[in-house]
Structures are given as C-alpha cells and as structure tokens.
C-alpha cells in the first residue's frame, strides 16, 4: 500500500478511535487534566507563583503521558476483547500505521489538556519562537516514547484486566516522580542520575530550559535532546518489532 494510503489509514483510526468517542463522551477529556491541575494547585499554594511555572511545563508532559499510556489498555482491548485488530491484520494496513493511528487517537483525548497547559505556559512563561519549537519537539518526544511503551506493554497482556493496574502506576512513575514538575536540582546530587531512567526527564528538562525556568548549559541541553530522541527511537523500534502482526 502506498504511503498516502497508509497516512489515510492512520487518520481514519484517529477519527474512529479518538475523535468520535470524545465527541460522544466529551467529559472524558477532564480525566487527563485533573491530576496535573491538582499538582499545579498545590505547588502554587506551597511553593509560590515562581515555582508554579514548573508545574505548567510538567502539566503539559503529564497530560501527554496520561493520555498516551492508555494505548496500553486500548491496544489490548482491540486485540483481546473486541478483536478488531484481527480484522486490521488481515488487511493492507501496516502494523506501524495501525499503532500510529491508535496512538494519535489516544493523544487526541489529551488535546484539551495540552491546549490548556500550552496557553498557560504562553501566558506565564517567557517563550521565544525557538522556545516554542523546543516545547513542540519535547511534546513529540514524549508522545512517541510513551505511546511506544504503552503498546509494548499491551502485547504481553493475556487479559485487559492484567493491565488495569499498570496505567496509574506508570503515570506516577513517568509523570509525577521524575523531575517533570520540579527542577532536577532539587534531587540529591547522588540520585540525580536515577531521574534519567524515565524517558520524561529529558523532554521536561528541555521545556524547563525553553521557558527560561532553568539555565541549562549547551552541553546539558544537547544531552537532553540526544537522550530524549534516543529513548524515543529505541522504544518505537521495540514497539515496531513487537507490532509484527504474526504470532509464532
């Protein structure tokens, strides 16, 4: 199938599994906004307005993580429960297009939160044109790595219920524990390296730098970009490998 046809397939899945459900059940979007807003509220109360700006960038990352990690249960649901994946396997749509379509659909459910935190960032942080591009790059890195991770986990599930426990757990481990809502410098120096185990640390640092909240030397920024892109590429490659349609 030609590239344009694969792209149409991706957009069809975005419409089918992302736009249509949100149109019919619009309150679902609140789901991914509530937790980041709560964190923002407490940081504002306890740390003051200057620290609250960290929670805006963190909120953006957390909304993307929260919506994209649900690909884990969604892909398993399509494969195990409704078995629509079997219908797409026996069609010219490629595995990568199928996963991309589903992951965009999940991202769509976080779109309201992404818009909210982007606007708040625009209002309360000083962002240059280059900074805006950096924020978009960080958001794309987060979307790619978290979607890939979610899909990888889904391939191991025998029952969707196996996965119910993982989404909230991963959400905390990826969006709230690492230095996403706060600067990495607040962690004890000896433990800072541990933060880099989370793929969200890199894009969060990029956003903190792009919004002028932290001053990162060029070498550090380069490390964040290389680390974030490498992490995303590795996870996407692993997901693409596991997304091979055919079981052995």
């Amino acid at each position: 199938m030609k590239t344009i046809e694969q792209l149409r397939g991706i957009l069809a899945l975005l419409w089918f599994d992302g736009i249509l459900p949100i149109r019919r059940s619009p309150f679902d979007v609140i789901n991914f906004i509530l937790s980041p807003l709560t964190i923002l509220f407490f940081i504002y109360i306890f740390a003051g307005p200057s620290r609250a700006a960290f929670a805006l960038g963190g909120g953006l990352i957390a909304v993307i993580v929260g919506s994209c990690i649900t690909l884990e249960t969604e892909a398993a649901f399509m494969r195990i429960v409704v078995k629509l994946q079997d219908m797409f396997v026996a069609s010219p749509l490629s595995p990568v297009s199928y996963v991309a379509g589903l992951s965009l659909a999940k991202l769509f459910s976080g779109l309201a939160g992404i818009a909210l935190f982007s606007v708040l960032l625009g209002i309360y942080a000083k962002i240059s044109a280059l900074g805006a591009v950096e924020i978009v790059a960080a958001a794309v890195m987060t979307w790619a790595s978290i979607s890939a991770l979610g899909f990888m986990i889904s391939t191991f599930a025998r029952d969707v219920r196996d996965l119910w426990v993982y989404s909230p757990l991963l959400n905390v481990a990826l969006a709230f524990l690492p230095p996403v809502f706060y600067p990495i410098s607040l962690l004890p120096q000896n433990f800072q390296f541990l933060a880099y185990v989370a793929p969200t640390t890199y894009p969060a640092q990029i956003i903190q730098s792009a919004t002028g909240l932290v001053s990162t030397p060029l070498g550090g920024l380069l490390f964040d970009y290389v680390g974030g892109v490498a992490y995303a590429l590795i996870l996407v490659a692993l997901a693409a490998r596991l997304a091979h349609w055919r079981q052995t």
Partner: protein, 304 residues
C-alpha cells in the same frame, strides 16, 4: 486431488504450540473458487488455528499454505490485500455506528474517504443495515452487531472471506440472516472459508466441508458425498435411561448425549423401531445427516 490452483491450498500443514501442544497435524486440503468451504470440528479441534494461519496472523510450524496463488508465509502482504476476516467472538466498538466502522475499515484498506462512504452505504444497504446506519452499536442487538463486522469484511470485496464461527451466540433468525449474506457473497464468484461447530449450518451453507479432530483431517468433500460414505442411510435415535444393549445387530451404534444413535439402512431402521417399540423405548427415525457423520467419524477417532 490437489492441483495447487485453488483459492486456498494447504499441504501437510502443521502447528505445534509451545511446549508440546499439537494444534494441526498435517492438514492438506484445497478450496475451489466461488464456494463456501466449511471447516468443522469440536472446540479445540484446530479450526481457529487453521484459519489464523490462512489469515497470515499465525505462522505454521511446517507445511505449505497458498492463498490465491501466494505463499501465506513468505508473501503475507500480497495475501492481506485479497482477504478479509471476521474473528471469532469479535464485536464492534459501542460508541461508533455501523457506517463509521465500515468507512474506517475501508479507508484503512486504501480507499479514499469518498469511495469508502459510497461503498459503505452500498454494503449496509445490501446487508439490510441501512436503517441502523447511524445508530450507535451500543443500541444494536447481538445479531446486528455481528452483522456490522460481517459488513466490514464484505465491504472490502475480498476474494477470500474467512469467517470464524460467525453465528456463535446468535438466535435462529439472526443465524438465517447471516447465512443469506454468505450465500449472496459467493454468488459473485468470491470464496468463503467458514469454521463452525454447528452441523446444520455446515450442511445448509457449505459446498464442501472438512471435518477436523485433534488437528487431523478426518474427512472432506461435499456434504452429500460424505453422507454417502456412511453406507447407512437412516439414523435411529433411541432415548432410554437403561443401559440398553442389543442394538449392534441393527447397525453402527454411537453413544450421543442421553441416548443411543444407530446408523443403519432403511430396513434396519424399520426392524430397530419395532424392537424399541416392543421394549417400550422412545424412538425417532430420520435420514442420516452430517451430524451423524461427524459423531461417527470423530467418535471413531477418539476410540482409536
């Protein structure tokens, strides 16, 4: 018998799941174009494994599988363009409509949005789903939901349609509706491979059937030919709670459910009916069916 030119051709197809579960054990068969081919077997006989291999969803352990002239193991992309599948116990998403399901499926198969919309309306009309075109699947009955999946697959105009137990759980009217859809589909020269464990369904729908048991092909052919192979023309079903004996002299005795089933000739059936009447057993006499062949063959295999 196999010339390799059929829509589907398999030779010595084997599949063993780890650690040592043999699901298919040397299946060789050929399906001709424009036919409904029924694959019969009990739960766990290997029907779904066979279908998933043909659908390029599962790799065989060994053997040959050619679909529409292409090697399903080495050329899965070429096969996938030409087939469509309705999975066992699949269901549509509840917050979407039948129209949206069919359009999405068609666009994902390469059609433009405009062509997909037109094709979806045509298919939904042909499958009597037009009145439910914009109804959320949450508000459809089980039979209509199943028909949505069949509409998705049939809208693709695939040369080979693979239906895995398409009528499981449906009421008798909904089953007949699905049967009619299947007949219409093959009338245009397309082919359907159908798995089922409903014998009446296989007998009503299939031009050819294959019975598999424990991964092995037991018998294959047109239902009428298979029945001829029985040598018995009549089946006598005797319902008795006693451990009844003495039926062997009338024909082949099969234990089935709460009674005894005797495959015999017309004359034998008459003699057995008289014998049972004397003994006070409840008895039913009818012509032998595919179900009798199935019980006879599968029972025989199990006795081995």
């Amino acid at each position: 018998m196999h010339d390799g030119r059929g829509v589907l051709y398999t030779e010595d197809l084997r599949k063993t799941y780890r650690p040592d579960t043999r699901a298919l054990d040397g299946i060789s068969l050929e399906v001709e174009k424009g036919r409904v081919f029924g694959l019969l077997g009990a739960n766990g006989a290997g029907k779904t494994t066979f279908l998933r291999i043909v659908a390029t969803q599962l790799l065989p352990s060994s053997g040959t599988v050619r679909v529409l002239g292409f090697d399903a193991v080495k050329e899965p992309q070429l096969v996938r363009r030409r087939i469509a599948v309705v999975p066992q116990e699949g269901r549509p998403l509840l917050l979407q409509t039948p129209f949206e399901h069919v359009v999405t499926y068609l666009v994902s198969r390469g059609l433009t949005y405009g062509d997909a919309r037109r094709q979806a309306d045509t298919t939904l009309g042909a499958l009597n789903l037009a009145p439910y075109r914009d109804t959320l699947c949450a508000n459809l009955s089980g039979g209509l939901r199943q028909r949505v999946l069949i509409a998705m697959a049939m809208s693709s105009d695939a040369e080979l349609l693979l239906l895995d137990e398409p009528t499981i759980g449906l009421d008798p009217i909904a089953r007949i509706d699905v049967w009619n859809l299947i007949r219409k589909y093959v009338a245009d020269g397309r082919t359907i491979l159908l798995t089922t464990h409903y014998m009446d369904e296989a007998e009503q729908l299939s031009d050819s059937v294959a019975i598999i048991n424990k991964g092995r092909l037991v018998t294959m052919g047109a239902p009428s030919e298979i029945k001829k192979g029985l040598s018995a023309t009549h089946t006598v079903i005797v319902r008795t709670t006693e451990s009844a004996t003495g039926f062997e002299r009338f024909g082949k005795v099969l234990r089935a459910g709460t009674g005894v089933r005797v495959l015999t000739t017309q004359e034998g059936a008459s003699d057995l009916a008289s014998f049972c009447t004397e003994k006070g057993y409840e008895v039913t006499v009818r012509q032998s069916s595919l179900e009798d062949v199935y019980i006879s063959e599968v029972g025989h295999i199990e006795d081995d």
